[in-house]
Amino acid sequence: MTVSEFEPWNDPEAKPLIHFQNVTKRFGDFTAIDDLTIDIYEKEFYALLGPSGCGKTTLMRMLAGFETPTEGTIQLAGQDIVGVPPNKRATNMMFQSYALFPHLSIWENIAFGLRREGMAKDKINDRVEEMLRLTRMEKFARRKPHQVSGGQRQRVALARSLAKAPKLLLLDEPLGALDKKLRQDTQFELMDIQEKTGTTFVIVTHDQEEAMTVASRVAVMDHGQIKQVATPAHIYEAPNSVYVADFIGEVNIIDGTASPNGEDTYAVKWCDNHAPLNAASPLPFSEGQKCHLAIRPEKVSISADKPEGAANMVQGKVHDIAYLGNISTYYVELPTGAIIKAQTANTRRIARRSFTWEDTVWLSWTATAGVLLAE
């Protein structure tokens, strides 16, 4: 069996399900969404990621119909949906607070949308039973929302929003209220349900780990603008700006000036007393252009002895160690005063660690380990 890659965004023939064209949304003087254009394809699991106040929730509420854009158009399956009220849209939303109706049983909550459609009674029964099975809530159908746990409420909210088989399901911080362990389990459950139902999911989250786990593509937002849209791996390995690199995971940023020293390679001058660093970049930089070298801590090696033949190496002192059990992050202070983070897996017993606080260590990384960024 061959697994074909799911990448409709690379297919010029593919028609997007959702198309935002130059959408701007202002609340008084405040610009929540700033001239934004994005495409979301069918069956995608699209994550909107950003700090609070970045406009991700506004974007989602415009999709649901609770807000109308000040400028621009939004298309759903080729049709302009600006001005269509929420109850006339083929989208459903799972609310952050779940918004389950407290006076109705779980069964009635799930049937709520179907009843409004005027669906036949036996069909409603079948559909509700199907949703209860999908979310493994059959046993709790007669209970009221306040009689089940937080994780179960979350599943009811999901079942209710999926019951009408929407073209697009919007999830507003769906796992925010769950504890970490339950959140991780639920992430996989969400992906599973998304795959089973074939519904397009748009999820809003401020948790980058969650976005990376569930999404086919992640859109990083800041101040009402999309900074980068890419697959989780691409966004982690090849961020297009310091903002994105810093927002996703941990990163060391070294500021300097670039000068070309080979094909697609550059010498980065970062400090007067040190040799320039070597970095490869597919993006062209001109001589003397300001640049930022972004390196993930796990791509920096740490050793007690001077490494042989490394493209980049610097010496420093262990300033701090964050022991996380499976890995340790070493905060190494360079003679310039800058701190570089290096991460290693704790493959040895902690007692046999070869360096500790205040030890002098060498940090090294390859020319391709980092990403050279212009902004």
């Binding site: 649901a64 109850n87 989208t91 939303m93 918004a99 109706f101 006076h103 409004r116 306040h146």
Partner: protein
């Protein structure tokens, strides 16, 4: 231990002194006979005759009398009707006001709340007298309507049941608004959005979500209006006419005009028994609400 006992005993003592003892006295009077004396009933308890002789003189004559004269049960029924209709009217006026308050911007709400409570700063009696000035044939309402040319003859409102309804709705409106407002204010706005998202129009979202969820507030407000309105005396005697029959008024007349304390007491006892039903229902409603919140 002593302190805890005192703490728990206080409300019971309060109840005993201010409710049970007066109730026992009124009950005893209702079993007595009217007399031209001071106090105007007998028997009086006399140590010399003993308790047995005292009790033997008590009877249920007055309660039997209440069933014989149709004035009384008509007055009870009429009171129930007036209380019920004015509760519904108060709800119809109060709900939109409470809804508007709960939807108002947060910074306005304390002001709106103040405006609801403000009338309490003036004496209730003065406010009812003010309504007499508004509603009378030469009153402000008729003057304005005639000046506008809406009517040629003054409307007769004062001294009719309409004036009584206006008075009760006006007086008890805050008791309806405040409990409804407090339930509406706590409602999560995303519930209505969720209903709309699932295919409801604005109105059906209101009808299917907001109204059922504000039921505890509606129930509390309705009881708070219905219970005092049933025994209301001041409003019907000032705004109502000779045709307005309410048990509070009958009670007053029995007590002060006829000076028949035993019959008046019997009327009061029956009124209390009628009121026990809504009071128990009200308590149960409050209890249910508290349980739901836990």
């Amino acid at each position: 231990m002593m302190r805890r006992f005192l703490l728990i005993a206080t409300p019971y003592f309060w109840l005993l002194a201010l409710f049970l003892v007066p109730f026992a006295i009124v009950f005893k009077i209702s079993l007595s006979d009217a007399a031209i004396a001071r106090p105007p009933y007998m028997p009086q308890f006399d140590w010399a005759e003993g308790i047995r002789a005292f009790i033997s003189q008590l009877d249920f004559e007055n309660f039997v009398f209440l069933t014989e004269d149709d004035l009384y049960w008509k007055a009870y029924l009429s009171s129930l009707k007036i209380a019920l209709i004015s509760t519904v009217l108060t709800l119809l006026v109060g709900f939109p006001m409470a809804y508007g308050m709960a939807r108002a911007p947060t910074e306005w709400r304390p002001t709106l709340m103040m405006l609801i409570i403000l009338p309490f700063w003036t004496s209730f009696l003065i406010r009812v007298y003010a309504w007499m000035g508004i509603l009378s044939n030469e009153g402000y309402l008729n003057s304005v309507l005639m000046w506008l040319g809406v009517i040629n003859e003054p409307l007769v409102i004062l001294n009719t049941n309409i004036a009584v309804y206006i008075g009760i709705v006006y007086t008890y409106l805050p008791f309806m608004i405040l409990p409804i407002y407090s339930t509406l204010e706590r409602l999560d706005g995303s519930l209505n959005e969720a209903a709309e998202d699932l295919g409801c129009s604005r109105f059906s979202a209101f009808w299917l979500v907001t109204v059922p969820l504000s039921r505890p507030g509606i129930a509390a407000g309705s009881f708070l209006v219905f219970i005092p309105a049933l025994g209301e005396f001041v409003i019907p005697s000032l705004l109502g006419g000779s045709g307005t029959l309410m048990i509070g008024k009958v009670l007053w007349e029995e007590f002060f005009s006829n000076r028949d304390w035993p019959v008046a007491s019997a009327v009061a006892i029956i009124l209390l028994l009628i009121l026990v039903i809504p009071i128990v229902l009200f308590q149960r409603n409050q209890q249910k609400q508290q349980e739901a919140e836990q």
